[in-house]
């Protein structure tokens, strides 16, 4: 997957509508990145808003790199203790219910149920693992780019991604939903 680097189309060259769409995409991506870090939609929205204000005050251009960096910085400030020391437990994987499997589920219900399982499995990863997975799998960053963005050695990043994938697979397998995904 190619990395999707983006910058807003300039006002002079493109229509307001195009710029509006760019902002939509930028903020949605910022939200997802914040969600990958926090695994909490409310916190993700707060992180994004704080980061936007910070970008505005710093006079930074509306670019993915600046926004992600501001989001990360805020997350590290707010959740430093959790990020460094807490390994979030997944609880009892066997308790994961196969929602929608009861009787004649629709495609949407199955889709939703799968996402719910994935959501719980992701909730069992550490913030830095979710972040590395998100940047790699969703944003298409290379290990070197993630290393630059997060200030870690490339080898550490590769190790975190590898561990995150393995943990995610294990949790999905333990909950018995791997096949349906």
């Amino acid at each position: 997957m190619k990395k999707r680097s983006m910058q807003l189309r300039a006002r002079s060259g493109e229509s307001e509508k195009a710029r509006d769409e760019d902002l939509d995409e930028l903020f949605q991506r910022g939200f997802r990145y914040a969600l990958a870090l926090s695994h909490d939609p409310d916190r993700a929205a707060d992180l994004l808003q704080d980061a936007c204000v910070s970008c505005l005050r710093a006079g930074a251009a509306w670019r993915t790199g600046y926004l992600f960096s501001a989001i990360r910085s805020r997350f590290v400030d707010q959740y430093r203790r959790q990020m460094i020391s807490v390994v979030e437990p997944i609880g009892d994987p066997g308790a994961l219910e196969r929602a929608g499997a009861a009787e004649d589920p629709t495609h949407d219900e199955l889709f939703r149920a799968d996402l719910d399982h994935l959501d719980r499995a992701l909730g069992g990863l550490r913030a830095d693992e979710r972040e590395a997975l998100y940047l790699s799998a969703v944003e298409g960053y290379s290990a070197r780019e993630i290393a630059e963005a997060t200030g870690r050695p490339r080898g550490t990043v590769l190790s975190v991604i590898h561990r995150a994938r393995r943990k995610l697979r294990d949790r999905l397998r333990d909950s018995g939903i791997e096949e349906t995904l």
Binding site: M1, S5, Q7, L8, A10, R11, D20, L23, D24, F27, Q28, F31, R32, L35, A36, P41, A44, A45, L48, Q49, C52, V53, L56, G59, A61, W62, D114, L115, L118, D119, L122, L133, Y134, S136, A137, V138, R165, L168, R169, L172, E178, L181
Partner: protein
């Protein structure tokens, strides 16, 4: 499960996560409060060398612009009795608009100014109900929080009008830094801003529609 398959599911999962429409609109409004020149994209079209050159050129241009600003423009603004208050009013209006669209929660819930005065003891002025809001109707106080205007401690008070619209009122001491500032009514990206003086206080009112 293969890596590709797992990554595909992750993309699908994160792709299904959406920022809610209200927050998205608020952020877009925030982004448009201040219009800045965008730096031309060089990362996808140029070589490393061209990027470095463009970066240096931009840096040099910024430095020259800053020098010109510091040497000629700012002294001129300071000495110009008309231009300085005008620039100051613009700066305050942007600050007020920015704070308004942030829509921060109140730290001190209160139903009136006496309740706010009691809770916001750090202010070096006495909070009061303004006389000239320009809205024509009465506002209900929801609560307040500390903020700053031009680096000066201020109160940010959330109000609601008769139609249920939220407004943000600002109050701070009318220090000598604000000297020359007269009543202002402006609009910034759909936000109506009103700035005025009442006695020893500077007031600002922001609303998406007044």
């Amino acid at each position: 499960m293969s890596r590709e398959r797992l990554d595909g599911h992750l993309r699908r999962y994160y792709g299904s996560q959406q920022l809610d429409a209200t927050t998205l609109e608020r952020l877009k409004q925030l982004a448009q409060v201040e219009t800045r020149a965008e730096v031309p994209e060089s990362s996808t079209h140029g070589s490393q060398g061209r990027r470095r050159f463009a970066s240096r050129l931009l840096g040099a241009t910024t430095a020259v612009a800053a020098l010109v600003l510091l040497t000629f423009v700012l002294p001129a603004l300071r000495s110009d009795p008309v231009a300085r208050p005008e620039a100051l009013a613009g700066s305050i209006a942007r600050e007020i608009a920015l704070n308004h669209v942030k829509n921060l929660t109140v730290e001190f819930p209160a139903e009136g100014y006496p309740g706010l005065r009691e809770q916001m003891g750090k202010l070096d002025f006495s909070l009061r109900s303004p006389e000239h809001t320009g809205g024509g109707g009465a506002f209900r106080v929801i609560g307040g929080r500390y903020c700053s205007i031009q680096g000066q401690l201020a109160a940010q008070i959330k109000l609601e009008d008769g139609a249920g619209r939220l407004l943000t009122l600002y109050q701070t001491d009318f220090s000598e830094d604000f000297e020359g500032l007269s009543m202002q009514q402006r609009e910034l990206e759909g936000i109506q801003i009103r700035i005025w003086r009442e006695g020893d206080l500077l007031f600002g009112l922001a609303a998406s529609e007044i």
